[in-house]
Amino acid sequence: MDPENIQSTEELLPLVYAELRRLAAHKMASENPGQTLQPTALVHEAWLKLGGGEGRQWRNRNHFFAAAAEAMRRILTDNARRKLRVRHGGGQQRVELEDATTAANSEADDILGISEALEKFAKIDPQRAELVKLRYFVGLSFAEAAEVLGISEPTAKRYWSFARAWLYEEIKAR
């Protein structure tokens, strides 16, 4: 509605979030049950759907990816949380669209733990955290993630080593 709507990454988030959810639901419904989600493909599709090709609402592609990475993190985390709730609460297994984005059962705990640790890490080191989001939640390659972040590929790899060690240590310490 208001043309002012879309301003910052934070404001883009709901838009991307909604689109990704929709796509994820759509994807899973049209493919074999049990097949794992392909976040990279989802994000690319969202990019096209949201008019990325024409660069309309996005300052640039990187701007979009920043929002998409966070949206993907939230989607996967929400679903992992829901999945765990169903498992632990013994609630009735319901077939809902939301379930579509749930990763394999064993991954649910990992995703939650990583997501929480990552939130903490983002406060200390936003750029490395961003890299983790792009790699882990969106599935970008080093080259792609480096491009999004505007750093070189070797730098991205160095960033990655530290971020991974930091998060591993954080999760282990819990």
């Binding site: 509605m1 208001d2 709901p14 882990y136």
Partner: protein, 842 residues
């Protein structure tokens, strides 16, 4: 964080070293800081142990998705040349067949998730029947098989065309031409039905139009494919799968197809779908919105398809909203009123007959449908007609919600009829009892008129040329007061009605005058109905409130409430409705005077009445809850406001599974764009409450404030919009004083004040907002839209403040911008100092 930086530095340096040298380096680098040493050691261990940690969730990290087939590949005796399409169901390639004949074909590979053997078996079962089909409007299906990766594929006649809906719109086909094309589709479907083939998946993407020798030829593709690829619809999951894979959208699905258990699909299912297509060709919309159907969930979707009556095409058109209606009509080369009148009647009935829930009531064959359309085209009576008087009556009631253009036509007819029957009768001074009879009739007519006019959205009215209506109103008002002097009650009723139309046009002073006359007449007439008196008081209070004359409005509203409360009537629900309405009105008036506690109390009373009558689930309850939530917010009772809002949303049937602030905000935007302002308001209010709770203030709260305010402004609820814009502006002036949208908010606040007729206060805000945006126009995304909106606001300002030359001058600037087209970069005219001086003139 220096500590963190140092960690990184030492960690990265250590990793560069051969593992044997690391320990020594780390010890040296930690120089006497045992904590730090421990930390680095832990991180380095983690780097070793966690080598597999954080494997991207993607199965093949960084790899492109595996493409199963690609141009150049060979599938059986077909060579893929290029991909020509992709849909929910599969990928379509242009392919070359080499034997037995060399020809180009379309080859469709079905997506994963199917039992290929069964698909092929089902196809084989129908193959003979398919081979019998021979029709110029049907694309032949030649072959089916399985790819080496085990996916089913179909080979069809290659059709190079565009979707029928796109074709009609691109060529701006007139309504009659659209019907001609549609007739050919009916013929194709009829042919297939005669050969025993049901399509099951007719939709625009399966009806392609090609041009042969200048003749447009629609071709129906994919015959036999839906049948072969459907079959096991046993669970919700597979049905959803089916929707996505084969229907793509449930918008074209017949009620019986949506049933889980139904395997009993017959040719009348295709007739239904033809009705959907015709609906779309005429109105640009499907009867039910596909994304809404999917969003509502499976149960709700089935219920809708099974039970909900679609709006008539003409009704749908008239409720599209001015802009969309104009676009839709433009695509058929027509003015909006013309399109509506063209569709109303025969075509409405024809479409509705296709869309009957009970297939026994539909056209029994595609041919019968075709015949009716041909009858319509040659102006013969069609067979599709209302089922009964009752049916027609129900439809007439619905017709009350006609749009503005239609409203004017109906109203003129009514006034003319009224003029002939009542006024001439009155003049001739016929027998007294005849006059009484006519008086009763007239007041009935007036009520009908009023009901109908209630359907007019003032916003729609204001955007159109209302000269004709104003002229008509003026003359009617004169005649009413001159000719009806011996029938004061009828006169009062008509004056009230006319007053309300003036109010809808934004002419509140005239509206007030009419309402005052009506009120005086009703007070003086002993035989008058107290209910009518209450209505008059309500209307007068409303017109006064609209002009910001709050204390006078309050006085009449209180009297109205008293009258309503003491009402004795035997019409069920009438008293309650009046009382609830009067309570809410008084609430709004005292809220605007700042008496928040009293307003809250009044809204709660109104709510209590409405929960009894018309009942818990009625939209009126939601509306009151919304209003209540507004005042609660102003009082700072945010928790209660949120609860009220949730309840309102519940009435509208929103589920709370995913009602987080952002989802609600988006939902609000969607609803706003569709013109469903009350529901949009509920969403924005809720989103705002949640965002306030989440972040207190900041950009997301500002955006929610602004969106809510805009929603209220579009409903002419300026008094409620004002504080929201003010809060948004204050926050933005603090947080981002230089952003263009801060200036935009200032302009919108000005526009809101104009709505409250505070022109002096509005003008400087408008100018400074506009100038601020002009300086930053390159950063505005939708700059043409914003510019046009600004210029229109200035024109309104100059008109309202009696500066016609200025208004004309700016109208010129506006036309220049509009003439330059939406894609060009518009030039923002400067608001010269002369204009500023003009502002200070009396």
């Amino acid at each position: 964080m220096a500590h963190h930086e140092r960690e990184i530095e030492v960690f990265e340096a250590a990793l560069e070293l051969p593992s044997g040298e690391r320990e020594a380096f780390v010890e040296q680098a930690s120089a006497g800081d045992p904590e730090f040493l421990k930390r680095i050691r832990a991180l380095l261990d983690a780097a070793e142990d966690g080598a597999d940690f954080l494997t991207p969730l993607t199965p093949n990290p960084g790899q492109p998705l595996p493409a199963i087939e690609k141009p150049g590949d060979r599938i059986g005796r077909y060579k893929l040349l290029e991909q020509i399409g992709e849909g929910g169901c599969g990928v379509v390639y242009m392919a070359e067949q080499e034997e037995p004949i060399r020809r180009k074909v379309a080859l469709k590979v079905i997506k994963l998730g199917m039992d290929t053997r069964q698909v092929v078996a089902r196809f084989e079962a129908e193959r003979q029947a398919l081979a019998l089909m021979d029709h110029p409007n049907i694309a032949k299906v030649y072959d089916a098989g399985a790819t080496t990766t085990g996916r089913p594929f179909f080979v069809m006649e290659l059709v190079r065309g565009v979707r029928i809906t796109d074709y009609c719109n691109e060529k701006r086909l007139a309504t009659a031409q659209r019907l001609e094309l549609f007739n050919q589709v009916c013929q194709a479907v009829q042919h297939a039905h005669q050969k025993g083939i049901i399509h099951r998946d007719l939709k625009p993407s399966n009806i392609l139009v090609t041009v042969n020798d200048g003749q447009a030829v629609p071709k129906v593709i994919d015959f036999g494919i839906a049948k072969a690829t459907s079959g096991e619809r046993l669970t919700d999951k597979t049905v959803f799968t089916a929707f996505h894979q084969f229907m793509g959208t449930p918008a074209y699905m017949s009620p019986e197809q949506a049933e889980l258990t139904s395997v009993d699909i017959d040719t009348r299912s295709d007739v239904y779908t033809l009705g959907v297509l015709l609906y779309e060709l005429l109105t640009g919309q499907t009867p039910f919105d596909a994304s809404e159907l999917l969003e509502a969930g499976l149960e709700e979707m089935r219920r809708t398809l099974r039970e909900k009556e679609p709006a008539r095409p003409s009704t749908r058109l008239s409720t599209l909203g001015a802009e969309k209606l104009r676009a839709t009509a433009g695509l058929q080369g027509l003015e909006p009123p013309k399109l509506i009148s063209l569709v109303r009647g025969d075509l409405d009935w024809i479409v509705l007959k296709c869309l009957e829930k009970d297939r026994a009531r539909r056209y029994q064959t595609a041919n019968a449908l075709l015949t009716d359309i041909q009858r319509h085209l040659s102006n013969e009576p069609v067979s599709a007609r209302p089922r009964s008087r009752l049916y027609e009556f129900q439809r007439t009631i619905r017709r009350h919600k006609l749009g503005f253009a239609a409203g004017v036509v109906v109203m003129m007819t009514l006034f003319l009829a009224l003029g002939i029957s009542t006024w001439s009768l009155a003049k001739e001074k016929r027998a007294r009892h005849r006059a009484d009879l006519e008086a009763a009739k007239s007041s009935q007519t007036a009520r009908f008129l009023e009901d109908m006019l209630r359907g007019i959205d003032p916003k729609t009215a204001q955007e159109r040329d209302t000269t004709l209506l104003r002229d008509l109103l003026g003359r009617s008002a004169t005649r009413v007061s001159e000719d009806l002097t011996n029938q004061p009650l009828v006169e009062a009723h008509l004056e009230n009605t006319i007053g309300n139309i003036y109010a809808a046009l934004g002419e509140f002073e005239t509206a007030e005058q009419m309402a005052r006359n009506a009120l005086a007449l009703r007070r003086s007439e002993a035989s008058g109905q107290p209910a009518d008196l209450a209505e008059s008081l309500f209307d007068l209070a409303h017109h006064l409130w609209s002009q910001g004359k709050l204390s006078e409005a309050e006085q009449f509203a209180r009297e109205g409430l008293n009258t309503a409360t003491n009402l004795v009537t035997n019409i069920p629900g009438k008293k309650d409705a009046l009382v609830a309405k009067s309570l809410a009105q008084l609430g709004v008036i005292v809220q605007d005077q700042g008496k928040l506690g009293e307003a809250e109390d009044l809204f709660r009373q109104s709510l209590a009445v409405r929960k009894q009558v018309p009942g818990q689930d009625h939209p009126a309850v939601a509306q009151t809850l919304n209003t209540l939530s507004g005042v609660l917010t102003l009082e700072g009772k945010l928790g209660e406001a949120e609860t009220a809002n949730r309840d309102a949303l519940k009435v509208f049937g929103f589920s709370f599974q995913q009602s987080d602030a952002d989802a609600l905000y988006n939902r609000g935007n969607t609803l706003f764009d569709r013109g469903r302002l009350t529901q949009a308001e509920a969403c924005f209010r809720q989103a705002l409450a949640l965002r306030r709770k989440r972040s207190g203030e900041g950009p997301d709260v500002e955006v929610a404030l602004s969106s809510l305010a805009t929603t209220l402004r579009h409903q002419q609820r300026f008094a409620e919009a004002e504080p929201l814009y003010r809060e948004c502006l204050a926050s933005r002036e603090k947080n981002c004083p230089n952003a263009w949208y801060t200036h935009y908010t200032r302009l919108l606040l000005g526009a809101t004040l104009m709505g409250k007729r505070k022109f002096e206060e509005a003008e400087p805000l408008l100018i400074s907002g506009y100038e601020g945006m002009r300086e930053r126009e390159s950063s505005i995304r939708d700059r043409t839209k914003v510019l046009v909106e600004s210029l229109q606001t200035f024109i309104q300002l100059f008109e309202a403040t009696a500066r016609p030359q200025k208004a004309d001058e700016w109208r010129g600037k506006l036309s220049a911008v509009q003439a330059s087209g939406p894609r060009s970069k518009p030039v923002w005219p400067e608001f010269s100092s002369k204009d500023n001086e003009a502002a200070s003139e009396p």
